[in-house]
Symmetry: D2
Subunit: 146 residues, 4 copies
């Protein structure tokens, strides 16, 4: 997969509007790159993100996936967006130091975008393991966030 993260303007917009507000601020999403319909984001695991087995809570894994998908669509549509629906499949326990989501826009139309996303967990030895995958429909709102 070719990754072109040269869209600095959209990256800055995402940083400004979405990354430091409300849930995302608490969640601690770090934007690794954005552009060309793709986004990579990462979160450092801490106790508040875990569930009763000590893994990252599924809600956190899928929230990261959802956010990555929406931001990926935003880089393609270049307008404000909201998630319309998404499906997420958990593939392995998310036990590690970080979770990283990579979202890729499959198609971006005038009214909606379809985005696929994969989430990886970084293990103690630094290697990564696929821990979930999904697909989302993102509604294109047709205007920029204020």
């Amino acid at each position: 997969m070719t990754r072109d993260y040269s869209d600095e303007k959209m990256t800055l917009r995402l940083l400004k509007h979405a990354q430091f507000q409300g849930f995302n601020k608490w969640f601690g999403i770090e934007l690794l790159g954005a552009g060309n319909g793709q986004v990579e984001v990462e979160v450092a695991v801490r106790p508040e993100l875990t569930q009763h087995h000590g893994y990252v809570h599924g809600g956190c894994v899928s929230s990261l996936a959802d956010t990555a998908a929406a931001w990926a669509a935003a880089t393609a549509a270049k307008t404000d967006v909201v998630t319309s629906n998404f499906t997420f499949h958990f593939l392995a326990p998310a036990k590690g130091s970080h979770i990283r989501a990579h979202a890729r826009t499959l198609k971006c139309g005038r009214r909606q975008a379809t985005v696929e996303v994969q989430v990886f967990v970084r293990l103690e030895d630094g290697s990564e393991k696929l821990c979930g995958a999904g697909i989302a429909t993102i509604a294109v709102l047709g205007k920029l966030a204020a």
Copy 2:
């Protein structure tokens, strides 16, 4: 829909094992009732749960739905469970004082349960509005959480 929340034992188990740990503790999930393959849970909205439009972040809405679905399956399977996959459709902005999820087990087999879930937002006037709906597959682990 008949709601039978007489399964006190499972309710207590959920309270003990899941409600007060990690993400769920931070999230502030309140268990309104559990039993008979159904669960109702609620969260009071606060700024850390919102996104850039001031609504509850989609990741929080779907996390509540996911948790409700898993707990509903737990009351049916009477063992520990984990979410295998879920699909969630956002139907209206979650702008209000509380979000409430109602999950209902459609089928619970030996290896997995399928659960449907709806999420409602409580408006200023106390009325509720459907803001999302989904369906989940919950893996039945066949043993109780420690």
Copy 3:
């Protein structure tokens, strides 16, 4: 669930435009009722609809669900529609004489509708069993089919 199938005009439109064309004609979909955002459709099982275990092929079960969802949205939107995405969970083998889908519109907006659907198989003794459930997003095209 209240079932109001009094929308005769939409029923006739569905009969004219969709029920007797291409795949639907071959599939043999019978419209049992339509109106108020809901649709019930049925198909008589025959060998060409089965898979290698003798059950109705999953593709046929989900096709019936998909069609029911789209038609339900059409009765709500009163315009032409197409399926945008759908999720379907298989709950039991569809082994019987007929499969029946009941779709119910959860929300119908200007651009899309969200519809939940359940499929039942009619057993030898005439009773019905839930064999699948799903949720779909249907795009509202804003015009009537020619």
Copy 4:
């Protein structure tokens, strides 16, 4: 994506057990290749597969995707399988001479496999266009089909 279709034994098994029965026989699925958790299948478009706009019916597009996903899981699990659930997003009208599905197993465990699938339509000029994408959970039955 590396495509290794060297698993002749599984290909022959699929040909024998699944390709020439019931719905699949009518549908006319041609197995292009199978092995290494991946499968490619194709169907030639004919009038019985279309809907009221003349495109391939969504139920046929998603049936091909579902079948490809199940067969891909079968090549990974090397046992009989059935679809547990799947999600499919329609990306473009399937108007062309053939539709082709390419399914790839993301993870295959002891009890289930998760498979992603893309469907392409072949246009008049011979080029292909992505017309849908999805993700499926396939239950691993742990035994071979008779």
